[in-house]
């Protein structure tokens, strides 16, 4: 039974590998490490850029949740499609999103994947297999159910994976989407990342259910809970559900237990978190530390091998940063393109005919009225 609130880090007793995790090759085991490390280091780079005011909007971290994002996405095959949530940078990287894209997106560059229209990791690519989320929580569940429905109708052996936070399970869209998917028996896996908090709201305020996995009962689908900070356990449970979906077995709800070690976004000082809780998770249940221990103790990887991987990650992120910084801002008139397929271009309003910019400088507002912990108070 899952614990609802992260009163303490989950136990770290010896974990027995399941058949899927057992079947991973040595190279695949290393790859899991690479993606987790990549996720963490890329976010650390984004923090630097944020502090240099190069990130235009807010910055969202998945520190401590890398295993759940990476392990689950790794269970998909090419052709499968996922929809990440704000803590799933790792899932997108596994599916082929590049660091250059992520950096350009955060910096609102003109050649970012959304050409400066959308923020942070809100972008997608159906070819590579990820769909950009919108902010409205829960909305991606019915959308992904529809993608899964298209697979079913066309008899394609493809699977959909959609992520939601514990908080997003409270939305109407989540309920309607998962219910629709369950009734239609579409090939879909729903992952609820139970990271203890939705912004400042603990899971006990979010639901009266004993666990999020229990919600599966109400939809007539299996609900399972796994240790989201164990990349192999995450892989195992997701792979099982993905296989089931691919074989026509319908929807599975997976609750992954993890912990959001940073605030909701960089500005959030987490005043609502019990003292010491984050530090305990960091010390006792860090997903990368845990995996490193297994890689070295159980699977015969040398620290040198892992260090080489870390160096590779750093070099790739450095190169990506250099490249991303080179790009310019979007041309203002691009704002008027692509609202419809036809017409492809919106006409400028009458007072903007012949005008390309109505401001002298594009300021980055110091704050938009949110609490700014970095400034020790209000922005």
């Amino acid at each position: 039974m899952a614990t609802k609130s992260p009163a303490a880090p989950a136990s770290r007793g010896a974990v027995v590998l399941g058949p899927h995790a057992n079947a991973l090759t040595r190279a695949e085991r290393l790859e899991l490490y690479y993606w987790m490390r990549f996720t963490r280091s890329l976010e650390e780079r984004l923090v630097n850029l944020y502090r240099q005011t190069k990130v235009v909007g807010g910055l969202f971290r998945s520190l401590g949740q890398e295993a759940d994002a990476v392990g689950s996405a790794f269970a998909l095959e090419p052709g499968d499609i996922l929809s990440p949530l704000i803590r799933n940078l790792g899932s997108m990287l596994v599916k082929g999103a590049t660091p250059v894209e992520i950096l350009k997106q955060y910096m609102a560059k003109g050649d970012s994947p959304t050409r400066g229209r959308e923020l942070n990791i809100h972008f997608g690519d159906l070819e590579r297999g990820f769909v950009g989320q919108i902010s409205h929580l829960g909305d991606m569940v019915p959308v992904m159910a529809g993608i899964a429905l298209s697979f079913k109708l066309r008899r394609e052996k493809r699977v959909v994976l959609v992520y939601v936070g514990d908080g997003a399970t409270s939305t109407g869209a989540f309920h309607e989407g998962i219910n629709f998917a369950a009734v239609q028996r579409v090939p879909m896996v729903v992952i609820v990342e139970n990271n203890g908090f939705a912004y400042s709201t603990p899971t006990t305020t979010q639901t009266a259910a004993k666990s999020f996995a229990d919600k599966g009962i109400g939809y007539g689908i299996p609900g399972v809970t796994a240790d989201g900070n164990d990349v192999l356990a995450t892989y195992e449970v997701t792979r099982e559900a993905v296989n089931r979906a691919r074989a026509g077995g319908g929807v599975t709800l997976i609750e992954l237990m993890t912990y959001r070690r940073k605030g909701h976004a960089e500005h959030d000082n987490q005043s609502y978190v019990p003292a010491g809780l984050g530090e305990r998770w960091a010390a006792e249940n860090d997903p990368i530390d845990r995996y490193v221990a297994r890689l070295t103790e159980e699977f015969g990887f040398s620290p040198k091998e892992l260090a080489a991987m870390d160096a590779r990650v750093q070099a790739e992120i450095d190169a990506a940063t250099d490249e991303a910084e080179k790009s310019g801002v979007p041309g203002a008139l691009d704002a008027l393109t692509g609202i419809y397929a036809d017409p492809p271009l919106e006409k400028p309003l009458w007072f903007r005919e012949g005008v390309t910019s109505a401001v002298d400088a594009h300021e980055r507002p110091v704050g938009w009225g949110v609490y700014d912990a970095a400034k020790g108070g209000k922005s």
Binding site: S170, E363, Y371
Partner: protein
Amino acid sequence: MAEITYLEAIREAMSEEMARDPNVFLMGEDIGAYGGAFKVTEGLLERFGASRVIDTPISEAGFVGAAAGAAHMGMRPVCELQFIDFISCAYDILTNYVATARYRAFLGCPMVVRGPSGGYVRGGPFHSQNPEAAFVHTPGLKIVYPATAEDAKGLMKAAIRDDDCVLFFEHKYLYRRIKGVMPAGDHVVPIGKARVAREGTDVSIITYAATVYKALEAAEQLAAEGVSVEVIDLRTLAPLDDEAIVSTVKKTHKVLVLHEDTRTGGIAGEITARINETCFEWLDAPVLRVTAADVPLPYAPSLEDYVLPQVADVLTAVRRLAAY
């Protein structure tokens, strides 16, 4: 008396109303211990307790609907949407249930739904919206959108005391940038009354919320050019203050309607039509509109600045009117 911000003015209004009337209570996401994403409700949990400052699940339709039920029973709920963009999740409840309750079932919904709105903050398409027009189009909802700290307080108090549902839009760009000294005593600003933000004789700008300040800035520059601009701050969008609109038309004979919302279906079209219907013969020029372009609001500064109305656009429009 010390100055307080627009944001603090809203908090002060809610706090005073909660102290005055035990039926007033708050619901919303993260509004308790955290004090809300923007800290509007900071300190209210400590003062009034968890039974009157209720942290909700992420269920906008759920708690806005629950507010309607509680309101039927004589409670006066005030719901916070973390960003007004999420009011779309409660659209069904608000437009179908709440807006029609009095008319079809003789049930009042004395409730307030409030939240941070508007752009100029690099918030992207889902944290910058101005969805007021969709609700202005729904008979049965009152809509206010203050521009000053004094109005933020006075209108919030009026909204809480109103016997119908009031949607209370707060401009997040103004939250901590705009300050004012609150009038002493029980400061209530009546719903449905516009305000003359600046007196003028040559051209009128009718606007509300953040663009009031774009209008005032333009008016200042135009004064130097010898054009006297009157700025009308609507304050309430439903019901509209027709009298104030007509009276400024009769005074200046030239009107620019300015808003941050997109053009098509925006309130500027409605105001223009009302002027045509009621005082066309007083006009010396066509009524002009300056609004956002009809596109989803993009994130990058260069794009957002292009899409949203700027002071330079107001200057262009007023100069065109002045030339008639």
